[in-house]
Symmetry: C2
Subunit: 328 residues, 2 copies
C-alpha cells in the first residue's frame, strides 16, 4: 500500500476513507482534518482560550498536541481521580521508569511529562485533596453507582471541568472523545430511544448559564486513527483503560460496533454523520418548551434544575456526612 500523497510506503491505511498515507503525510492529515472539523462545527477561534481535559490517554494528549500544532491557545486540566487498580507495565516506558504503576499515578505522570516537555500549562485538581476522598471512596460513601464509581466519576469530572473553565475564564472546554466514543454513546441512546440525550449529543454544546462551551474536535476520528497518531507522534500515553471500565456497557457496545465496522467498513462514521445531518435537517421535534429552568446551586454556583444543592454538592455532602468531613 502506497501513500496517496507521495507514493512512498504507507504507514496507515484507512479502509473506511479509502485512503493510505505515509507517516509524514498522516501526521499532517490529522491536524488538517481537525482544523476542518473545528471550523465546520464552529467550535472556537484562535483568539479564544481553550481548556483541554487531559486524562493521560492517547486521545486527550493527541488533542492537546494537535491544538498546539495548529496554533490554538490551549491549556490542560488534569483531574487526579485517585484510582489505583491493578499495577501494570507501562506502555512505551524508557529504562529508567519503574515497570509497574497505578492508574491515576501513571496518568498524572504522563500528563505532567507531556506538558513540561512542551512548555504547556497544566492545571491539576486532586479530588482527594479538594473534596476529602478519592473517587472510589466518594462513590462508596455517597452510596451511588451500585458498586461501580463510574457515575460519580462522571459527575465529579463534569463539575470540576466546568468550575475550572469558569473560574479561570476559558471560552471552551475541549475533550478528546473520538468517533468510537461518540458512536457507542449514540448507539446506547438509540437502543433506548432516549430523546433528551439524542437531542443533545453534539460536536459542540453551546455555552449556557455561565458554563463554558463544550467541544469535541476529535469526534470524527476513529479510535484506531488516534492511536496511530499518538504512536507516530511518539506521544507517551497510558495504554490501559480505567480498571473500573471493565465489563461496562459502553465497552460492550464498542465491541458490537467493531464487529459491524469490520463487516461493513464505514458503518460507524455513517451512523454518526447521518445522525448529525438528519437532526440538522429537522428529523427530531424541538425539545418541549417545558424544559426545566436552571438555577445556580447555592453552594457551588453551577446551574442545577433543583431549587436546592446541585447533584454534585449533594453527593459530596452525603459522602462527607458519613465520613464526618465538612462541606468544602
Amino acid at each position: 500500500m502506497k501513500c496517496k500523497k507521495c507514493g512512498s510506503k504507507a504507514s496507515v491505511n484507512m479502509r473506511q476513507h479509502k485512503l493510505a498515507l505515509c507517516k509524514d503525510h498522516y501526521l499532517e492529515w490529522i491536524p488538517e482534518q481537525t482544523e476542518r472539523f473545528i471550523k465546520k462545527y464552529d467550535m472556537f477561534r484562535r483568539e479564544e482560550k481553550i481548556l483541554v481535559a487531559v486524562s493521560g490517554g492517547k486521545d486527550s494528549l493527541s488533542l492537546w498536541d494537535i491544538l498546539q500544532r495548529l496554533g490554538y491557545q490551549a491549556d490542560g486540566l488534569y483531574i487526579g481521580l485517585g484510582i489505583e487498580g491493578t499495577p501494570y507495565a507501562v506502555q512505551g516506558r524508557s529504562r529508567d521508569v519503574p515497570l509497574e504503576r497505578l492508574y491515576s499515578a501513571e496518568s498524572h505522570r504522563l500528563a505532567e511529562k507531556f506538558a513540561s516537555e512542551r512548555g504547556l500549562k497544566l492545571h491539576v485538581v486532586d479530588i482527594q485533596q479538594e473534596y476529602g476522598q478519592p473517587i472510589p471512596m466518594l462513590a462508596e460513601s455517597s452510596h451511588r453507582g451500585q458498586g461501580k464509581p463510574c457515575a460519580v466519576c462522571g459527575l465529579v469530572k463534569r463539575h470540576v471541568m466546568n468550575r475550572i473553565a469558569r473560574d479561570l475564564g476559558y471560552d471552551a472546554l475541549a475533550t478528546g472523545h473520538n468517533l468510537d466514543d461518540e458512536v457507542a454513546v449514540l448507539f446506547g441512546n438509540t437502543l433506548q430511544w432516549a430523546g433528551n440525550f439524542l437531542l443533545r449529543q453534539s460536536p459542540v454544546l453551546p455555552s449556557t448559564s455561565g458554563l463554558a462551551r463544550k467541544v469535541k474536535p476529535l469526534c470524527r476520528f476513529y479510535e484506531r486513527e488516534m492511536a496511530a497518531y499518538a504512536l507516530l507522534r511518539g506521544i507517551e500515553y497510558i495504554y490501559e483503560e480505567c480498571p473500573f471500565a471493565e465489563g461496562s456497557t459502553s465497552i460492550y457496545y464498542k465491541e458490537l460496533l467493531n464487529r459491524l465496522e469490520t463487516d461493513k467498513p464505514g458503518s460507524k462514521l455513517t451512523f454518526y454523520l447521518r445522525f448529525l445531518e438528519a437532526r440538522e435537517a429537522g428529523l427530531f421535534a424541538a425539545a418541549p418548551a417545558s424544559a426545566p429552568d436552571l438555577h445556580p446551586c447555592p453552594n457551588c454556583g453551577q446551574p442545577t434544575s433543583t431549587d436546592d444543592l446541585c447533584s454534585f454538592c449533594r453527593m459530596i455532602a452525603k459522602a462527607n456526612a458519613i465520613t464526618s468531613k465538612p462541606l468544602p
Copy 2:
C-alpha cells in the same frame, strides 16, 4: 422450569418476559397476546374482512391460525413467485411426501394444505401466469436489483397484495412480520437515520388513496416464539429461508441483534417498543408538508408519486419489452 399458570413442566421459557409456560398455556397465551396487540394498535375489528399474506412459512401460517382461532374473518393470499433454489429435504414431511422440493412449489403446497385442512379460503396469484415471467426472470429482464431479485420481489408482492385486497374488498391486509423482522428493519433504518422510513414503520399503516390498511399483528413476538407456536400447534411450514435471502443485509442485522439479545435479553423488544413510544410521544418532527402528491397509475390504478406509470408497471413493461410480451 415450571409453567407459571399451572405448575406443570414448562415447554417454552421466555427469558425476556420472565415467563415460562406449558404447551397448553403457551398455545392460549399467544392468541391472547395477539388479541391484545390487535386492540392496542387498533388493527381491525371482528366485522371487518382480513386478507392474510401467506408465504407458507411459520409466521404467516401461525398468524392465519391465530386469527381463525380468535374468530376473525381472515382469508389467505398466496403469491407464487416461481423461485426454485436448491432442492432440500422438507421439514415435518410425512412418508408419502417426496424428499426434495423446490422453494415456491413447497411453500405453495403447504399453504394449500393448511387452507384445505381447515376449510379456509386461499386466493392464489401466480406471477409467471399473470405477468409472463417468474420473479427471478422479471428481475433479470428489467435489470433491477444487481443480481438479486429481492427488490423486484418486494415490489411485486406489495403490488399484488394491494391489488387483491382492493379488488376483493378486504378492509385490512395482514402480514406475519415478527419482532425480529421489525427490529432488523428498524435497525437498518436507524443506522442510516432514514427519516422517511422511521416515520412510517408501524404495527398499523392506515388506509390511504384507496389502499387497504396494513397490519402486523405478530410484530411484538420474537421469531423463536412464533417458531415454538407453529411447532406446538403442529403447523407444517416451510423451514428454509428463501434461497435468495442468503447473505442479505437484513439477515446480517438479525445475527448482530441476536448477539445483543443473547447478551442483554429483552434488548430487541425494548428497542422496538421504546421507538414506538418515543415516536408517539413526539420525538420526531412531523413529515414535511412537501410530501409528494399521489396519483393513480394510468395502467393499474394504484397510487404513485409519478405522473406516469407506477414503479411496478414500469418494471413489468421493461421486462416484457425485452422478452417481447405485451403489458398485461
